[in-house]
């Protein structure tokens, strides 16, 4: 062991993005089982886990499963540092030998971990659908008002409390377009705020869509004899479900975004 390891944290000049994980792994020493450990951090070039004893060998074979259904990968690791933490010593190791395939799997795992593309694209697609929905509604509102006031000379009732509804419709359009126009990618805290704003706007649009879907249900639009009207009802129902799920996905993503930004901030500070 010698002086190679320090009990105090040194400023780590790592160039590899490190993500927090909770993966069970087995340590083997010269071909025989040594210990089961809980891997707490994983990077493309190393792992960190807790060992109870301060003194342990300098190198191990690590058998790690990235998910319960994958084959365990064997990686030769070398201990780089130890840090006293509650419950033992956080042991940081670098990969000494990995197969190309295993390295690729680890790279993909970390890329997937830091990626938030899926839910953020779903939010954007939801906002896009709402924008289309808002546009046709405004147009249909104008056509309806025109026919009611001109062709039928006011004999038909105007849309629900005309000006209030028009205001609601314009607000819905503004929220949908804003949610769609705001960027979906989160690369820093500023972008995170924009992402939150986009989600809040979409939440407002979602309230409108759900209210309309409930109203359609109440007037039995889904039982209409016209395919066009029934199709419209189901399209609206799909929109409400899709936007709701996209928002739920976005809310579920918030903690992850915060975590990823923290990881990246630490990573950047080490890269400087």
């Amino acid at each position: 062991m010698g002086d190679k390891f320090s009990a105090r944290p040194s400023r780590n000049k790592r160039a590899f993005l490190r993500v927090p994980v909770r993966l069970r792994a087995k340590l083997y020493l010269k071909g025989s089982f040594y210990r089961t450990v809980l891997v707490q951090e994983l990077s493309t070039n190393g792992v960190a886990f807790i060992l109870k004893e301060e003194s342990s060998p300098d190198a191990f074979d690590l058998y790690l499963q990235l998910n319960p259904f994958s084959k365990a990968m064997k990686i030769r690791i070398e201990v780089r540092n130890r840090l006293k933490v509650p419950g033992g010593f956080r042991t940081g190791c670098s990969f000494a030998e990995t197969s190309e395939k295993d390295q690729q799997l680890i790279d993909e795992y970390i890329s997937r971990f830091v990626s938030i593309a899926g839910p953020s694209i779903a939010l954007n697609v939801g906002a896009f659908f709402c924008s289309i929905d808002a546009s046709w509604r405004i147009l249909a509102y104008a056509i309806h008002s025109y026919y009611v006031s001109r062709q039928f000379a006011g004999t038909l009732p105007q849309p629900i409390a005309q000006y209030f509804y028009l205001f609601t419709l314009l607000l819905y359009a503004a929220l949908s377009f804003t949610a769609f126009a705001l960027p979906a990618y989160v690369i820093d805290r500023k972008a995170e705020r924009r992402f939150l704003l986009s989600m809040e706007c979409l939440l407002g649009a979602f309230v409108f869509v759900v209210t309309k879907s409930v109203l359609y249900w109440q007037v039995h639009l889904w039982r209409s004899e016209y395919l066009l009207v029934r199709g419209f009802f189901w399209a609206q129902f799909f929109l409400a479900c899709y936007v709701g799920l996209a928002i739920a996905g976005g809310i579920g993503l918030l903690r992850k975004i915060d975590l990823i930004l923290q990881i990246e901030e630490v990573h950047r500070s080490h890269m400087r």
Binding site: N124, F128, S131, I132, S135, R137, I138, L139, A140, Y141, A142, I143, H144, Y146, Y147, V148, Q151, F152, L156, P157, P159, L169, F177, F180, A181, P183, A184, Y185, L215, Y216, V219, L221, S224, Y226, V229, F232
Partner: protein, 100 residues
């Protein structure tokens, strides 16, 4: 990232331009074919008769217990008011009102 911005700009332009092009409807002459067709479609009435038959068309007149109108096929219909279970007037305009 830049591609995504361009794509969004393109999609917004598409929605807005479709909206504006559709808005040209209001600038068309009143007797133009498009306006006549849309007006006719919104104005369509449906008669549900006691015989179970449904008549789609346009009611022109209702006098002395008689309902007179024309169908989509250009035929003229005359029914007693008592033969009609229900008359759904301006069907699509009513639907449009519920849908917007």
């Amino acid at each position: 990232m830049r591609d995504l911005i361009y794509l969004k700009a393109l999609l917004i332009s598409f929605i807005v331009s479709t909206f504006l092009i559709s808005g040209l409807y209001f600038f068309l002459p009143f007797n133009s074919q498009v306006r006549q067709n849309i007006g006719k479609a919104l104005d369509m009435d449906v008669l549900y008769l006691t015989s179970g038959e449904t008549v789609h068309g346009w009611i022109w007149d209702e006098k002395e217990g008689m309902v007179v109108g024309g169908t989509k096929e250009g035929k003229i219909f005359t029914h007693r008011r008592s033969e009609c279970v229900y008359i759904h007037r301006n069907v699509f305009l009513q639907y449009l009102r519920q849908m917007i």
